[in-house]
Amino acid sequence: MPDGHMTETNRRRFLQVTGGAGVGLMVGFTWTATGRRALAAPAEAGKAFEPNAFVKVAPDSTVTVLIKHLEMGQGVYTGLTAIVAEEMDADWAQMKAEAAPANAKLYNNSAFGPIQGTGGSTSTYNSWTQLRQAGATARALLVAAAAQTWGVPASEITVSKGVVSSGKHSAKFGELAAKAATLPVPADVPLKDPKDFTLIGTHLPRKDSVEKSTGKAVFAIDVAQPNMLVAVVRRPPKFGAKAQTVDAKAAKAVKGVVEVVEIPRGVAVVATSYWAAHQGREALKVTWDESAAEKRGTDAIIKDYKALLSTPGEQVTKEGDVDAVKAAKVVKAEFSFPYLAHAPMEPLTCVVKLGKDGCEIWAGDQFQTVDQMNAAQAAGLKPEQITINTVYAGGSFGRRANLESDYIVEGVTIAKALSDAKVQGGKLAGSPVKLIWSREDDIRGGRYRPIYVHGMEAKLGADGALLAWKHRIVGQSIMAGSMFEQKGKPDNTSVEGAAEIPYDIPNRLVDLHTTTSPVPVLWWRSVGSTHTSFAVESFIDELAVEAKQDPVAFRRTLMEKHPRHLAVLNLAVEKAGWGKPLPKGWARGVAVAESFRSVVAHVAEVSQDDKGRLKVERVVCAVDCGIAVTPDVVKAQMEGGIGYGLGAVLFGAITMTDGTVDQSNFDTYRCLRIDEMPKVEVHIVPSANPPTGVGEPGVPPLGPAVANAIAALTGKRIRDLPFTGTVSV
């Protein structure tokens, strides 16, 4: 995900595109700056008190927090609600979370700029101060209402667990809401001293557990609208191909199929049910123009990339002079990383209802502002005419946020095609359409973690000191051609995790070859660090062995000027019992990585059975993510990152033969199952710093920690991912 602001040029371009004059003023927006009254209209009896864009207090004292980020499993409905509850001194039981509408003026992600969207593990990071202020101001208004009602000074009023009290007076939030809504919004309300937190940092039950444990949670695939049609799309078998001829006769003969329409991304079969649409698509005959398609297989792509390792790339980092160093020993390694599909459990789905003056969309929407722009363009409407209802997403891992809004645009273009007067005399116009991707569509549909190849070279002194480090990266840019591209600079998503490393090496050179291909690529849980951290942490471990040092001791020496990384490493190895004996046939490996402003270290324990099969038995994790708002959610994200990362390194790969994807479903795109999940222990470094990311940072150090354990156990260094190409797992 894009981390950091857009460039100024791109920001201006964005504002032009959206027609959002003044949207830029909303960067860093806090509603308190408006200085208006809490409500434009006086509060009516029985109506909710809405002191700002994030908080609603109902007459029954339910406090609803409007969540501007997508809940896709990472726990924002719980964590962001906790921030508001803390500053309001509310009771956890009275708190509720609700998806905010798509509105970049109110709900932009300040880490992205004037865009509402979720990613880059920024949800808590960018909401922290904003939601503390929202909660504190709501509290101040309730206190002011109590002070006026009771005739006591505000300073003599306390709030605890949702009860406002002073002497003999006491009231719940709901009782004060109507009065509070008439009061002027105070500016600069002081925030709590973190040492006074009573909710943050404690165990708080997730807000979505009950719904999700009873089948009641609503995902886009569950949304129903009157007269809704269901669509599936036949897409080209090779990336970059286009439909040449379409024979829809047999498809249209399938009972329940309503229409077949061509859209820019393929051919859509529209029916009264998924089953009919699926059968219709099976019967559809399409020939493809493959003249502009990627026709290489992945082996050929990797070979092409490896050839680039021998020539210098675009310079990313240069410290000292790597080539001038005289070494006692030179160590070299090459790594390759395959395409990876995100494969969230809920395949991509959206519901689109297109009218003449507006378009309503239901989706597990991760990139509301970008999706509004792209949907508007596809529909021939203005972005502000696009209403997005954000519902729960059945996972994403980056997939649902993409700069072309692929599945949203498909849904809109199908609805648009159906609204054409020439199609059945326009009688399908306005029918809501639910677009469903099958699992095969998902696995073969692209937007993969790009293929990367890395070349590493290090020089060691006679005493084992690491004197020089050369790191060359080859791969496709995720950002190229997008509004987030930083022209004239090396692509950050290719080099993050490699450009800056927590090891002090006097001579260091990092460079990059950015390649192109019609295969669409995308950020995949932890983005560049999915491959850079593997290369860096595998290689540093190998160098420790070459230098005849313990891998932890070797890292500690190089990490002296990075106390945060060192503390995380130390906690992980201490809790894992580094150096203590293990059963026969077991070994440990360690890795540490910073990503999305957090630092994570994993110690992995791996065993090998008498048939040579390897198993990851246990992972001990330490994380510094600043203040852990909801520590149990942080733990869950580390557990999840470990499992997601482990499946990918063990056997995750999308391969292509002559440009056609070889995998199609979970039988061929293997994902981690419960019997392969290690025991996990998570330890959080106590911190008083503002919260940083947790959704992604658990992933990067997992792969190298396991690879390093395998090397310690078997002597085999894994250079080409996934591991199944080298060892038996």
Partner: protein
């Protein structure tokens, strides 16, 4: 074609559908019960798991015509002390993340505990390995099944 007659969540259910239509889509799109999820359409992920005559089945790959006369239970119709123990444990341990696979996980876990009240880790692995979770909530699924087993002992 005569309608197919079954029992859905304890109530008679007469479905006018192509007998090849997977049970999952009949339940989701005809009966309107959406707790059971579509994840793969190929019996690979378990998100669609329902009970047919008490046994966990992958409803995405079960033609509705093949189970005429059967009793079908979905997450919406789960009841009894095993189901309650499982769902309570799921909530107590905050197992869910995105939640999309969890209906299927819970259906498989209830079937496991109904047959095997005190499962070992190995029992859990073999009963639950057909249910994928891309959020990797596996650590907590295992713990919650043990937790539910403990609650059922009392």
């Amino acid at each position: 074609m005569p309608p197919i007659k079954l029992t859905l969540n304890g109530k008679p259910w007469s479905v006018d559908a192509d007998p090849d239509m997977p049970l999952l889509w009949a339940v989701r799109e005809i009966a309107g019960k959406t707790g059971s999820k579509f994840g793969c359409g190929a019996a690979q992920c378990g998100a669609c798991t329902m009970h047919v005559d008490g046994q966990p089945v992958r409803s995405c790959s079960t033609p509705i015509g093949s189970i005429a006369g059967s009793k079908v239970t979905t997450i919406e119709g789960l009841e009894g002390k095993v189901a309650k123990a499982v769902q309570d444990a799921w909530v107590k341990l905050d197992v869910v993340q995105c939640g999309y696979c969890q209906s299927g996980q819970i259906m498989s876990a209830v079937a496991l505990l109904t047959d095997t009240p005190k499962p070992t880790d190995q029992d859990i692995d073999s009963a639950m390995s057909g249910n994928l979770c891309r959020c990797s909530t596996y650590v907590r699924i295992r713990a919650a099944i043990h937790e539910a087993a403990k609650a059922l002992e009392i």
